[in-house]
Symmetry: C2
Subunit: 505 residues, 2 copies
């Protein structure tokens, strides 16, 4: 074996060990959200800080730096188009970032965000921002410190952080995509508002027994291809998906007996993430080629299954009979047309994760605006509720009555995830662009859905997207898959087409 | 600060870090038993092996050796009667053991026992020993290797292993306590067999809805003092208790709709362990003074709450009305006398964890005999079913119809826990001796139980046993608490008194 081959083998071993160690922290993180008894929060924070510190030690081990130096020339691993070089390139990016962060900051961030999430849960429950305020302040301070340590080419703090979620993206680029999208969306929302058609959403607020919701959600998630032999569905305050590694991916949701769409579409959404995780190459666990490409691409998978599939007419042509059998008291007498309209009702609403496909992106833009201001210092943590409500009113024409349906609704900031939100809207755009291409390749997807055939799309995603892992950066992946750079056109075309029909525009 | 004080502070820091790291593995171990999707077993085994290796690295860090050398003189920490010296002494014992074990063996044992437990679950379900046989063989080989690496003063392999569970005990000592106990028990069983009184145990096999069992078990566990704000109760194939650390202790049980005692007394048993864990000094987490004394002492707590409290007449004087309300269809028409007799029915039975108080110890003695033979090489893994059945027939006068109610019933060997079983019977003896002393100190405990007052006993245990952690070794603790060395007399007195009354002997 050549020295370079030996160096690559050693690097792979090191990265896999690091991935394995990090996946231990994922288990503790998931358990924290799903099972932790209240008095265990402090101990859990200590456990996670310890693991974060140990992972940081491994991630910054000078041995990695030396191995990466030996492999600096792409030809040492067969050229810059190889999977091996993708692993080297990504490892270098991660290593260069990690060594900039002091271990103390990494541990402090881990400890703080663990405890802060418990404070957030309580603040949200009690609708009391003051319980969360000191934590948010501390987190923003730490994230600013992190951004300064990392640095960015643009000199913008926010760009230093977004790199963790959407490598290569910048706030300015995102803004330049968001601005015209926002304009088009506002126009569409306004046209919908003028329409005479008003779906009756009260049918979704009838009684849907929780156990039946759970069984029905699991049935649908299984049908679209999530493998419950390699995963689970549990309850958490905020729905999420956590892939621990080969054979183990956990979904969470939350049930409201009087609100059907929350848990159902939430589960489809998380199952979409889960199908991506389950579609990664198990043998490459710990390497870039066995890892999701970016959060934006991750969201493209979840939003596709949730919306382009789950909220399609064809999906309900297949599933509505089953739904009526499962919930006879709620929708036994409801016509599929009315149900379909109700789950596609477009109107300003409080909660992002339950928002319709059109207004959803406005929720994202609001958060994107606020978190940039928080990070650059234009907005103080203390002023978040007031500024949230003011901006919300500007965007949606209505004002939250309390913070639990306003600035306290999302877990992200309490978890230190600043810079994460824009990936949701990027995901919506990626999703539509991928979906168009899948349709080109596979033929009439809706005709398949109407027959309950979801495997062709699932396998297309496996073979065209999941298989690559992080081999390409997101912008490059979009071109590899669709032959075009990212554009909002497919999303707008989809929204105009679908809601034009629903609202007779 | 003196050099010695500095060394002690450093030692404490090191030990706490090690405890914290080990507690991460506890979370993964618990999750493995309660939540793991089938396809995640391999990855989980890799995670646990990694953590076992990391813990081993820390446990054998030469720095600990140096610190312990600096603190070798008890006077360096205030004398041999101090809590600090107890921590040093226990740390030295643990360090001396750890450095004898090769890291590779530690990782291999972790990986093997993780995977093996899944094989055991399947083998037990399918009543097919051949599925478990290769794993048992591998485990026995590894445990023999471990015993050889550790060595023991007696030169007996089994004694090297028992040190992990009951420090200072040997197989010969245990045998010398077990022999007369067995004789007395066989005599008592035989007298009971002659009795005309035959409790009607069919009333315990009526329909007890699982959800109600769960609620009722939680009510009882709460009443005896388990804090569910600092713990949970979940379902697992084999009931256990795992204390992760301050504020987080997990109990598991398993429900059978047609067998009331299993989950109920099982939960009281695990809650007894949990109350011990919750009673440890949180500030000393990671140190001997914040750790349970031994498994025998741990079992004394669980068996006390399960049997001396939970199967007492006084307990049911308080709880029976509630039980009748919870399960009206099953026992609405059953007199308390009949119920009390049924839950104290003594007869040969297949399953250890559900055995009555009298025959239980015979189940232990059988396992003690077999695992000694396995370890010294007198018994091959392949012959375990045949020898189990033969010995069982000798002990109980009946032969298991399949291995799921025979040699496959317990998780222990699949988890590598060889040398653990005798601690259950030691626990029974400790329990009766402690209980007698508590009664001396507190007055009529049964009168308290009958009024639903369990806190006096719980607090007595907190203040007399839990508070010491591992400050004393078990034999010493018994003397400190009761003023006498361990003897089987209190257990035999309890059994003869109680079952003499139940069976009119």
């Amino acid at each position: 074996m050549s020295d370079q081959a030996k160096a690559y083998t050693k690097l792979v071993e090191h990265l896999k060990g690091l991935g394995l160690l990090r996946s231990c922290a994922s288990v503790l993180g998931w358990d924290e959200q799903t099972n932790l008894p209240p008095k265990g929060a402090e101990h859990r924070a200590n456990q996670l800080a310890l693991l974060a510190g140990l992972s940081h030690d491994r991630a910054t081990d000078p041995v990695i730096g030396e191995l990466l130096d030996q492999l600096a020339d792409p030809n040492s691993v067969g050229g810059d188009q190889t999977a091996a070089y993708a692993n080297v390139r990504n490892a270098k990016r991660a290593y260069d970032r990690s060594v900039k962060l002091p271990k103390k900051l990494v541990e402090e961030l881990s400890r703080t965000t663990t405890l802060s999430q418990h404070a957030w849960v309580e603040a949200r429950q009690k609708k009391d921002f003051t319980l969360f305020h000191p934590w948010l302040e501390k987190i923003v301070t730490l994230k600013r410190e992190e951004a300064d340590a990392l640095g960015s080419e643009t000199g913008v703090k926010y760009d230093a952080l977004i790199e963790d979620y959407e490598p290569g993206a910048t706030a300015a680029q995102i803004q330049s995509v968001f601005a015209p999208l926002r304009e088009a969306l506002v126009e569409l929302v306004s046209a919908i508002k003028e329409s005479d058609k008003k779906p009756d959403i009260s049918i979704l607020e009838r009684k849907y027994p929780v156990e039946t919701q759970k069984a029905f959600s699991i049935e649908a998630a299984t049908a679209i291809g999530f493998d419950f032999q390699a995963g689970r569905l549990d309850v958490a305050a905020h729905p999420f998906c956590s892939g621990f590694g080969p054979g183990d991916c956990r979904l969470t949701t939350r049930y409201d007996e009087h609100h059907f769409p929350g848990a159902f579409f939430g589960t489809l959404h998380e199952a979409g993430h889960g199908i991506y995780e389950q579609g990664l190459n198990d043998n490459d666990f710990g390497l870039a080629t066995g890892e999701a490409c970016s959060l934006g691409i991750h969201e493209s998978q979840s939003r596709m299954w949730e919306n382009l599939v789950g909220r399609s007419r064809a999906f309900w042509d297949h599933f509505y009979g089953k739904a009526q059998q499962a919930f006879p008291d709620a929708i036994g007498d409801v016509h599929i047309d009315d149900f379909y309209s109700a789950v596609n009702d477009v109107r300003p609403s409080w909660i992002r994760v339950e928002a319709d496909e059109v207004t959803y992106n406005l929720h994202i833009m609001l958060r994107f605006q606020l978190e940039q201001a928080l990070l650059c210092g234009d907005l103080n943590a203390a002023d978040v509720p007031a500024v949230w409500n003011e901006t919300f009113t500007e965007f949606f024409g209505m004002t939250p009555s309390d913070d639990s349906i306003g600035c306290l609704q999302d877990v992200h900031w309490s978890a230190g995830l600043i810079g994460y939100f824009p990936t949701y809207s990027l995901g919506n755009m990626y999703a539509s662009q991928f979906f168009e291409k899948a349709q080109d390749d596979l033929g009439d997807l809706n005709a398949m859905f109407a027959k309950g055939e979801f495997m062709p799309l699932k396998e297309w995603l496996n073979n065209n997207i999941h298989i690559h892992g992080r081999r390409y950066d997101a912008p490059q992946l979009v071109e590899v898959v669709t032959g075009k750079p990212l554009t909002a056109e497919p999303l707008l075309k989809h929204l105009r087409g679908k809601f034009g029909a629903v609202y007779g525009l």
